[in-house]
Symmetry: C2
Subunit: 452 residues, 2 copies
């Protein structure tokens, strides 16, 4: 029976069969369908099952369920499954995993459950996981794998290969070995292909690359991702604050981090929190409420600015008709600048040395587009309301607002970044407040002075 259809989606008949086996509590049928499937297939199936079927699915598969699957599903789905399973089963399932996968599953659990699951594990594995969990959230120490190959520089290639052949407790996958001194500090790395291409009697230190890009275990995972990207690393040694080797970061964890961080910025800019597509209505509504509430406050502030000019509006209703155009154009132009600034700050492309150059460019762009759109909207407004002065007023307001949009589009994210606040999360609110207030004030203010 095919798991996936032609489009690469889980096939409906397969899902149907799984669902029926789960509902019937038929472990044998479920194992026949799902044992030995790739973990990503099982993860996709889990997400497509109903909420109450998921823990049943895991329980029915029993020892044939690979807990690594839980690192591939949405956070919400994972937490819900773990919650529903007995801690004993989780402890049993997690102890077979690589340490980074185990930490990934354990770190978001409630302290009590986490402690109980750890207590049920053998002492050595418990100690390893505790150490990883002691590092700050989202740090390299949380993402690292602790199974690794470290050898001293004086070993030969032959001895190293023999050691790897004889060791039982090797990581599933690794691409380089780490060379450490007597204090377990990394002094070099050897790519496996180098090792393969070298004769057995050669000492490791003559073929190692001494340029080790070690990563501190307490470094934020986003910073660690920059190091990987910058040097195109496949793995990197992770060290404690005495520079001693404690683990290895692998490229696939870093791919997830890069994806997550870009995702966070996109969501931050749109005012969506850490919600996932499988979250409930209640959770989603609550998480979005805050942002909308802040937006309501700023919209009321902008309305307060309009209210200052109620006498003017009363006399000339055309102003009410045209005023959203000025505000909207400012908001959009500002968002363009802000988005480029936020992402360039996140990827470190925008830094001390080029902020002035970038700011100059953005102000020039704001001015040029301000003038162009001033001409267009000026002509449109003058024609529409057969009033040349009205056209002149909206044109002037457009220049002012697009220039301010450029100015604040860069000043807000850079300022937030300097204050240590993530610019992706707070920039949009401040920016639209500025472009609305400036837009309404410039347009209605100029109209009051020049047309009344």
């Amino acid at each position: 029976m095919a798991v996936r259809d032609a489009d690469g989606e889980i096939a409906a008949p397969f899902l149907q069969a799984v669902s029926e086996a789960v509902e019937a509590g038929d472990g044998a049928a479920l194992r026949a369908l799902c044992a030995d499937r790739h973990e990503i297939d099982i993860a996709d199936i889990l997400e497509m099952l109903d909420q109450d079927e998921r823990p049943l699915f895991v329980a029915l598969l029993g020892e044939d369920f690979d807990y690594a699957v839980l690192t591939e599903v949405d956070d919400t789905v994972r937490e819900q499954i773990i919650e529903a399973l007995p801690n004993e089963a989780v402890a049993e399932g997690v102890r077979d995993l690589e340490s980074d996968d185990a930490v990934y599953i354990l770190e978001d659990l409630e302290a009590e459950d986490q402690a109980e699951i750890l207590a049920r594990m053998p002492a050595v594995e418990r100690a390893v996981l505790r150490r990883s969990l002691d590092f700050p959230e989202d740090s390299a120490g949380r993402r690292m794998q602790t199974d690794l190959i470290a050898v001293p520089p004086f070993w030969t290639v032959g001895r190293t290969i023999d050691y790897m052949r004889e060791s039982e407790d090797l990581p599933d996958e690794f691409y380089e070995i780490i060379v450490v001194d007597e204090q377990f500090k990394p002094v070099g790395t050897v790519a496996l292909n180098r090792l393969l291409r070298t004769k057995r009697p050669i000492p490791i230190e003559t073929i190692m690359d001494p340029d080790v890009q070690s990563i501190r275990a307490d470094l934020d995972q986003e910073e660690a991702a920059r190091v990987f990207e910058r040097y195109n690393l496949v793995s990197a040694a992770v060290v404690d604050d005495h520079d001693r080797l404690v683990g290895v970061l692998m490229f696939d964890d870093i791919v997830d981090v890069i994806q997550e961080e870009a995702e966070e910025d996109i969501r931050g800019l749109a005012g969506v929190g850490d919600e996932e597509i499988s979250d409930t209505v209640a959770y989603t509504a609550r998480s979005r409420f805050t942002w909308l509430f802040v937006n309501l406050a700023t919209a009321i502030l902008a309305s307060g600015v309009i209210a200052l000019f109620d006498a003017t509006l009363q006399q000339m209703v055309a102003l009410a008709i045209l005023m959203p155009i000025v505000a909207s154009m400012g908001g959009n132009a500002g968002t363009q600048t802000m988005t480029v600034a936020v992402r360039s700050l996140a990827t470190r492309e925008l830094a001390g040395y080029n902020i002035r150059r970038f700011a100059t460019r953005e102000l020039m762009v704001g001015l040029i587009n301000g003038v162009l759109f001033a001409v267009i909207i000026g002509v449109v407004a003058a024609t529409w309301f057969t009033n040349v002065q009205l056209g002149a007023v909206i044109a002037a307001a457009m220049i002012v607002n697009l220039f301010c949009a450029g100015l604040f589009g860069i000043a807000i994210p850079v300022g937030l970044d300097k204050m240590g606040i993530d610019p992706a999360i707070a920039s949009t609110v401040f920016l639209t407040t500025v472009t609305d207030v400036v837009g309404f004030f410039a347009f209605l203010g100029l109209a009051t002075v020049l047309l009344m």
Copy 2:
């Protein structure tokens, strides 16, 4: 002399020294400063130099300049440097590169320059690059590396290792070898660590992983990235349309693709094109103009809706003061839904099977938040203008607009996706048009019917 300061930025004195050496045309001094530096350091230095210093820098370094550096700089910077250098020098520099890096540099050149550079290269290298360049832009074939290790299944581990030791033309870095049949079709892969841990007389076919995730050369790089992410691949065989092995995709190229694609979505949503931080004012202003122009058209459309109610506005200026609140809240709520939809579509988390579930959730969220904010703004408006009916009207309009925001926040990106249009690029314009038009129409229309 330190290249980087404590913050990891290129140190100002170092940059100063490089710049002076370039201005003085002092190749020896420049080589002393820059030869043997990591390519990422040289790339950062190149970006920080003035535009006219960059080609001089490359020319002065001569053979000590590693053209792989050009794959690490902004597109604009790369094109400007290549443009300024003689084609002969580029041909010389590019022929030493791995094929994927060479293609990356050549693919954006003008057809004439590209042909001339290719003509100056040795026949074998030229044929390899031509084949890669024949694949569509942004396809796996463009990103693949053509240096690879492929062996038949009946070879032993020992023979494979000997072959790797003796071959001259191996890729710089590789993590697995590909097993091919007599027609050069991939039938398995062997991770290098597996090879190292196996005794010499064992045949390759007994240790190979027969579950090859081959990628078609004409597959879009974004789809290829999904395969890598899904199966946590470090590399993947690339095959032509007869399933024959033509190259290998490496994880580091895929990391760049993932980063680029997320970047494209962020920029698309904000109406920023493919501009880079080093682009000129003229280019940037032009590229943003289009989006702002479309936005102007939709803003004028929304003003046209307001103009329908000019008699109502004339009688009650409070409506002009309050109307931007309804439109703004709709725009923000819709953007939240739309952003989640766009990203979930891009990562294939949102697909046929769960669109209905997602749509239901979004409509419920829109309704719940619509009611909550209706109450809040209703009370605020009624109090501000001491007019309970006005409060009721804005409350009703808020519910209508937030529900529509949820509806169109999902319908627009899903609809565009079905039509084969990238939802990231076009969704925002359509959505704000809907939320503005519905917002103004609902609020002013209800006011006209109920308050006049």
